[in-house]
Symmetry: C2
């Protein structure tokens, strides 16, 4: 059950990036559960990671390796998060990096590890080590679709996006994949996202670009409010496109690239919400008229996390009182309810803090029957606006998460 | 579906309080949906109300009336919350108060109105006005059980508690009822709670006593994190017991009473969690070793609100990684995960931030199979501790809240 039609695109290969997929039998025999990205020498890599204090062993190690060295490999396993595993977890993640480094003839710090799956169980490191040669054996320029498949866990469909744009008459490409369906309320990154481009970008700018794009995409989605221990999003720039290097000083050159990157990462993030566990609706929560950004986000996330709003969305029930109650408990100081208007798509449901005179149940019902809905709140306190994307809360969500480990 | 066996007690009547129940046909014909408490002259009344900025019309009016006058009647209707109803909502609540005041020959400020039910629909004030005479016609000293029934909405069973204690050789009684099953994350009060005693208590102390008891009971429960627009808890002291007046200066006299009140209100609050929409488990989340109270509560509520923890509880799945992930995202600054221990009842699951060496899946499973579970987190940062009570998240919750208005 996922919202909307979203086939994988025909990915543009990214010169300097090869991808190999293998089976280690981590959770289920035969499942593609290992993905290796090989990056060319000279590629610049940056990443954003979970803000969860209990971040997983691979997150700790990936951060350390990224600070120490220029990555040549990304190693992703599904089926086990290697989180809550203490010292042994770090040792296990390190052994995976060391093995891949040996096979690829690079230093072990040049491997960034990523894991996703159940928390708190020991990583089956022997299985992963045994599976690496086969993943390396099928490295290919053209395996983005296989990568999108290979990083899935409870996802019902693979997620990817690809773009081509011209910079000064030269073609620049961006391709990316993401995964995630539950435990989604990224804070600095999403479950897992891997994006690469052949543009040439100086390191500080690359980090700024990723942060900016994440704040319009992965950092604005929520399924259940549960920030994962393993969130990570990586952006690689191989520099093989032949365009001039993007620097802090030539923004006129790279601004179209930043816009394309924002759009591509938004596609990847929206794909996670559309495929969220049990989702039947794709919902944008847009808050306008806030005095500061934190107000807009507090109200948007309070609505997006409310189990009562989410079950009403599941039922296509225009029970807008639950939206109003969520706005009221979002913790804004001196909220003047008389200034507040609330809309379902273009239908005004609340005007000046009470039911709009023009509102009819039929008009509300017509919007709620749609698969894609925008809840818009105007706080009437200022000029700041932001949007968060979420989904509804269905029986299927409970089933999936009650039976996750069985 | 509710957790544990909880029959109504044999209520002690409270001298000076009479209760009448009636049918106004607000949502369903024939349902007992009106409750009137008549308070004797001289009774002291205090209350705590929702912190939701969108507080309902009856909440606004009850606050105003309480500030202006000594209440002689409490008027409760179910089936309609009279919230999000603007100016008309206030006028409607006022008309109900005026009608009851006329019938009872008191001033309209001496009536406190309370409403619970669906948000955003106009209060059917004519039906309520028409139903009041019958409710007044059956006023009785001994109708606490009927009151417990009469204030129910999605509750599957009535909730009440009663106590008798001796103060200086004189019998003092406390009786109370509560209601609520969803939209439960009270903040200064619960959905609705009405407690009365025949003790004689000076007004300032009465307010202090209620606040203290609410902070150990209604302000420590959560079902879905959704703070209602209509929460209210009222404490009435009629002074008819014959004990000396409780004042700020004779704490030795009233300390046992405060303890009894705390216990009674905890029973009423726990009854709401036990009867929470779709609940199959009653769960205490106890956080120890916090540096300050807000830390303990932030961690406890993050666990108690996590849909992933709650669905794992529903499935009796010892998926403790979800508890750990919730602790990690609770927003505590400089959290040292190596200091953290987590227990399911007496089973240590996390020790020093990672899976406890002694932990076995069987031991975790044995606890999760129970109907009543304590999740205990020791943060190892200080001496503060607090407890929040919650329930699991089941298919039934989704069903109830998806079909609430149908």
């Amino acid at each position: 059950m996922a919202v909307g039609h979203a086939p994988l695109p025909n990915f543009h290969p990214i010169a300097g990036v090869r991808i190999g997929v293998g089976s280690a039998g981590i959770k289920k025999p035969g499942r593609k559960d290992l993905v290796v990205f090989e990056l060319c020498e000279g590629a610049q890599t940056t990443a954003v990671f979970t803000s969860n204090a209990f971040c997983a062993a691979p997150v700790m190690l990936a951060k350390r390796h990224l600070a120490e060295s220029a990555p040549r490999y990304l190693l992703i396993n599904t089926g086990n998060a290697n989180a809550g595993t203490g010292r042994q977890g770090l040792d296990n993640a390190m052994r995976c990096c060391e093995t891949l480094a040996q096979l690829g003839a690079v230093a072990s710090e040049q491997v960034l590890p990523f894991s996703t799956g159940v928390i708190g169980e020991p990583l089956p490191v022997d299985k992963i080590v045994a599976g690496l040669p086969s993943a390396l054996g099928n490295l290919s320029d053209n395996a983005w679709a296989e990568a999108a498949q290979g990083i899935m866990t409870t996802d019902t469909r693979p997620k990817g996006a690809t773009m081509r744009l011209d910079i000064d008459g030269v073609a620049v490409h961006i391709s990316g994949v993401s995964k995630g369906a539950g435990m989604i309320k990224p804070n600095m990154a999403t479950m897992l996202g891997f994006v690469a481009t052949d543009a040439d970008i100086e390191p500080e700018l690359l980090q700024r670009m990723l942060t900016a794009a994440a704040n319009k995409s992965f950092n604005r989605i929520t399924v259940d409010g549960d920030t994962s221990t393993n969130d990570a999003c990586v952006l690689v720039a191989t520099g093989r496109s032949g365009t001039p290097k993007f620097t802090q000083d030539n923004a006129e050159l790279w601004r179209p690239f930043q816009e394309a990157l924002d759009g591509l990462m938004q596609q990847l993030a929206h794909a996670i919400v559309r495929d969220a566990e049990g989702a039947t609706k794709f919902v944008a929560v847009n808050v306008q008229g806030a005095a500061v950004l934190s107000e807009a986000l507090d109200v948007a996330y309070t609505i997006a996390h409310s189990p009562l709003v989410k079950t009403a969305l599941f039922a296509s029930d225009p029970n807008w009182g639950r939206i109003l109650a969520a706005v009221g408990r979002a913790g804004l100081q001196n909220l003047e309810v008389e200034r507040i208007n609330i809309y379902l798509n273009e239908v005004c449901i609340v005007e000046g803090g009470a039911r709009a005179a023009s509102y009819t149940e039929e008009a509300g019902q017509a919007v709620m029957d749609l698969e894609e809905i925008t809840i818009r709140v105007d706080l009437g306190r200022g000029e700041v606006e932001d949007t968060v994307w979420t989904c509804d809360f269905s029986h299927e969500y409970v089933t999936i998460n009650a039976e996750y480990r069985t």
